[in-house]
């Protein structure tokens, strides 16, 4: 939405309008605002005369009676003036203060902010300081002081409110402009000698403006409320002019006898400000595609886990499966998108035995991480398991309740995440975080758990563990953080450990150390390790078996040396051929033509056929199953047997 609105033009405006019509609530809010604006323009013309005409014979007439004409439908005040007519006139005064004040602060604040953000340096710092000073002082107080010195009038109100709100726009515009300053196209503009103001007008203003307009809509409420408050307090709009705030103040004197005099103007303020807020939040959601996406997703969420449990409860058996500690069968995962559910994991199956390392290998986006998260029960709310089984020691994890699952998380199944910095809680000491598994599962005292945490830190090779336990994650290096994360995962000697790209964020020497640590710990405890990686070398060196994934499904499995020695699937062949190796020296590196399919548009039949040199007609119509091609080996290819025999 944002990029199209930058381009401007009537087509975009029509689209916004269409979007507005789709949201009933925002539509109503817009309608209310248009009505208020109409009243503000026409009201003083039509009702000014009526509003000031006193009728001392008819004071405090109650509302909701048409006996005395439309002007008295909301009653009359103590001087017999009709409330409805005064309300219309007051709309004009109220908006005549709020609108110019907002426009002034928007204009000055945004230009100032863009200028400060575009140039940076001293200009930026001084501008921000000025904004801080103004904002650190309550705006009403500022207004009170200024209105004391200059006598209160509509003009001085506009001035005070505009000055008080300039910093809000200044900050927003500055932040956005400063962010743009770092972008490449700005450098390009500077290289071409585009002057400061020209660059701001052409490049900065169009992308900052939508945000600023949203801010202005919210600020409109603030300014209107401030004006009403000041008028109510007697230092804003002065009689004989009338604004809604002033009407409330006048009605307050007769609250007991004539409630309607204070009630209706207040209601007018509420309706206007709430509409402006609603419209502003609608605009913010519409302008931010990410936000809208999340909103759409949320709507499908909520009751999901229960349905899932019921459905898969059918397969709730505890049958042991030939020595494998973890057995995944026909696992499918959908991700909900605005366009509907997209299947990102399509019937994945694999097994791991105690003490064995299985590498789940594939390009990014092939669904290997999603598979891992589904197995560990840590999928994001937008993703949902739609079928299959995950059996840990024969128990189907997808069929048991969250409480039972929590008991298994840690002592039976643990996971090591990719980015150790965000995976450690920044505000808790590492000692606390490492002690947590012991506190949760073994009910240890704080002190005992801490002692175990220190032990654990020593075991994963963190020097001075005793004192470092009180340090925070940001005080450790990347490699050390990954060690800490592994320590957390292996704390309770889990039977299965899933490591999701555990070394991707690290440099090569640290990578080797981390992998050695994982292997060492796995060896000691006979842990079944599922190593998720895109690194063929890592898999070759550290895994016993490999499962190669493509487009959300396993396409080949087998002992790692055999699979890499003689692949039975053309995709594995392609992968291996694209790795520089000794025997390829001098030859051209081959890459697989094309790219992996978009998860929303996986080809029918075999997902790999569009890139496959062996593809035949059959491949387009029949999806190949993962069939045995040799002892301990399987490939999901119609020609798997042929490749094995060749």
């Amino acid at each position: 939405m944002l990029d199209t609105s930058e381009a401007g033009g009537p087509a975009v405006r029509r689209r916004w309008f269409a979007l507005l019509l789709r949201d009933r609530f925002a539509c109503a809010a817009a309608l209310v605002l248009v009505l208020v604006a109409l009243c503000a323009v026409l009201g003083p013309l039509l009702a000014a005369d009526l509003a000031t005409r006193q009728n001392l014979r008819a004071p405090d007439r109650p509302p909701f009676s048409l006996d005395h004409g439309w002007a008295f439908v909301l009653g009359s005040d103590s001087l017999g003036r009709p409330v409805a007519a005064r309300l219309l006139t007051a709309a004009g005064t109220t908006l005549a203060v709020a609108v110019p004040a907002v426009l002034c602060s928007l204009a000055v604040g945004s230009v100032w902010g863009m200028w400060a953000g575009y140039h940076g340096g001293l200009r930026e710092n001084v501008s921000l300081r000025v904004a801080d000073v103004i904002l650190s002082f309550p705006s009403l107080l500022l207004a009170v002081v200024v209105l004391y010195v200059f006598s209160p009038s509509a003009a001085s109100l506009v001035l005070v409110l505009a000055v008080a709100r300039i910093p809000v726009y200044l900050r927003t515009a500055r932040a956005e402009a400063a962010e743009l300053r770092g972008r490449l196209f700005m450098d390009a503009a500077r290289t071409f000698g585009t002057g400061g103001w020209a660059a701001i007008r052409r490049h900065v203003a169009p992308s900052v403006l939508p945000t600023l307009l949203t801010v202005a809509a919210l600020d409109f409420c603030f300014v209107m409320l401030a004006e009403s408050s000041l008028s109510f307090l007697g230092i804003g709009i002065q009689p004989p002019d009338v604004s809604w705030g002033l009407m409330v103040a006048q009605g307050r004197q007769e609250l007991q006898s004539a409630w309607w005099i204070a009630f209706f103007p207040g209601l007018a303020i509420v309706v206007t400000t709430v509409s402006a807020t609603a419209l502003a939040s609608w605009a913010r959601l519409t302008a931010d595609p990410g936000q809208r996406w999340r909103e759409a997703l949320g709507r499908t969420g909520g009751k999901r886990p229960r349905r899932e449990r019921e459905r898969s409860a059918a397969g709730n058996g505890t049958r042991p499966s030939n020595g494998a500690v973890l057995a995944v069968e026909d696992l499918s995962v959908d991700v909900h998108t605005p366009a509907g559910p997209v299947q990102v994991v399509r019937g994945v199956g694999f097994t791991v035995r105690s003490g064995e390392t299985l590498a789940l290998l594939g390009e990014s986006g092939c669904g290997k991480s999603m598979t891992a998260h589904a197995v560990a029960g840590l999928l994001d709310p937008v993703a949902e398991v739609t079928g299959g089984q995950v059996r840990l020691d024969g128990v189907n994890l997808l069929a048991i309740g969250p409480r039972a699952r929590r008991r298994l998380a840690g002592p039976h199944l643990a996971m090591v995440f990719q980015d150790a910095l965000s995976a450690l809680n920044p505000v808790l000491t590492v000692g606390t975080q490492l002690a947590e598994p012991f506190r949760i599962h073994e009910g240890m005292s704080r002190r005992a758990a801490r002692a175990r945490a220190v032990e654990l830190m020593e075991r994963v090779g963190i020097p001075e563990a005793g004192s470092r336990a009180d340090a925070y994650p940001h005080q450790f290096s990347g490699g050390m953080r990954q060690r800490l994360l592994i320590a957390t995962a292996v704390a309770l000697r889990p039977k299965v450990l899933i490591a999701d790209e555990p070394t991707t964020a690290l440099d090569v020497t640290v990578q080797a150390q981390i992998m050695d640590l994982l292997a060492e710990l796995g060896g000691e405890q006979r842990t079944a390790l599922v190593l998720i990686t895109h690194d063929l070398g890592l898999a070759a060196e550290h895994a016993d078996r490999v499962a190669v994934m493509y487009a959300g499904a396993v396409v080949e499995t087998g002992p790692v040396a055999e699979v890499f020695g003689k692949p039975h699937h053309p995709y594995t062949q392609g992968l291996l051929a694209s790795v520089p190796a000794e025997q390829h020296r001098g030859a051209r590196l081959r890459s697989i033509p094309g790219g992996p399919p978009d998860p929303g548009a996986v080809p029918a039949g075999c997902a790999f056929r569009t890139r496959c040199p062996l593809a035949r007609e059959r491949c387009a119509t029949h999806r190949p199953a993962l069939n045995g091609t040799g002892p301990g080996r399987a490939a999901a290819c119609h020609f798997g047997k042929d490749l094995a025999d060749a």
Binding site: L255, G298, G302, L378, S422
Partner: protein
């Protein structure tokens, strides 16, 4: 920690100085200060006498020096209405406002954390939508009108609560409730947003991966991370409470600093207004330091940055 305190104190002094300067310039440079201090009906003799007594015939620099010395001694001159020292009047009114604002902020923070977390726990659930809608309404209603309608319903019609005064718990209900509405509405939205992003952070997954219970995930892991943005906004809202206090104290006859300010504006008592403004600025200065301290307590990274 001390370094942090010192640095924040130094940088917050700038706004404070600007306010001190601003008051001086407003009083001297926008016309004859006698216009500000004396009633409109003052005779020329009174004006001359006033000028001589307050050193207004001296050069501007001397006047500024005197002014600073006075401010440093919290000597703001005498109130026109009561002929008492203005500083004393303000200090007497201060605790009433502080109590009112303190209770309001306490309730707003506790309530917003509870409701905001509840809403964030299941984004877009019915609870979330209701909480979001009501809080955005609350953030944009005129407090003075709510106060008056509250008086109409609960004091005038039902007779449950008094219309003004400070004695007894019942007298606190309407003022605190009125003052509460807007900060509460804003804070619920902020806490919700911060909790939504904290609950989707990877460390929450890790905690769940350890088998942590949901209360442990929410209170042990997410809330402290969400507290930082909420705290910043709560600080701004506490400053903004002065706005609300002016309105609420006027309506409920609360003998606090907000009412004092409005009264002194309406009765053109510049000495008291000046004292009230400067002391409020001082209180805001103290509040900002308090907020920074809380930030440092909550987040070790802030502590480290401060020490560096």
């Amino acid at each position: 920690m001390l370094t942090l305190l010192r640095r924040r104190a130094v940088s917050s002094v700038i706004p404070l100085m600007v306010v001190v300067l601003g008051v001086f310039f407003l009083a001297r440079l926008t016309g004859d200060p006698a216009n500000l201090y004396l009633p409109l009906s003052a005779t020329p003799e009174m004006r001359a006498e006033f000028a001589a007594r307050n050193g207004l015939d001296e050069p501007l620099v001397t006047q500024f020096g005197d002014y600073l010395a006075q401010v440093a001694h919290l000597d703001f001159g005498e109130s026109l209405r009561t002929a008492q020292p203005a500083g004393e009047a303000v200090l007497r009114a201060f605790p009433a406002t502080l109590q009112l604002a303190g209770w309001t902020m306490l309730l707003a923070i506790v309530g917003a954390v509870a409701i905001g977390s509840l809403a964030a726990y299941r984004p877009n659930s019915a609870t979330d939508r209701i909480a979001s809608f009501l809080s955005s309404m609350a953030a944009s209603v005129p407090d003075f009108w709510i106060a008056i309608m509250g008086v109409l319903v609960f004091a005038v019609t039902l007779g449950w609560l008094p219309t003004s005064g400070t004695s007894g718990a019942a007298a606190w209900v309407l003022p605190v409730a009125t003052l509460l509405i807007r900060p509460f509405g804003v804070l619920v939205q902020v806490v919700r947003g911060a909790m939504v992003s904290a609950l989707s952070a990877p460390y929450v997954k890790v905690a769940r991966g350890k088998g942590a219970s949901e209360p442990r995930v929410v209170f042990g892991h997410s809330l402290r991370n969400a507290a930082a943005p909420a705290l910043t906004v709560a600080g701004d809202l506490a400053v903004g409470l002065v706005n609300g206090a002016v309105v609420v104290e006027t309506i409920f006859g609360w003998p606090g600093i907000g009412k004092l300010m409005i009264d002194s504006v309406l009765q053109r008592d510049f000495a008291v207004l000046q004292a009230a403004v400067l002391l409020t600025a001082l209180a805001i200065f103290a509040l900002n330091i308090l907020v920074d301290l809380c930030h440092a307590l909550l987040d070790p990274r802030v502590r480290q940055r401060a020490a560096a």
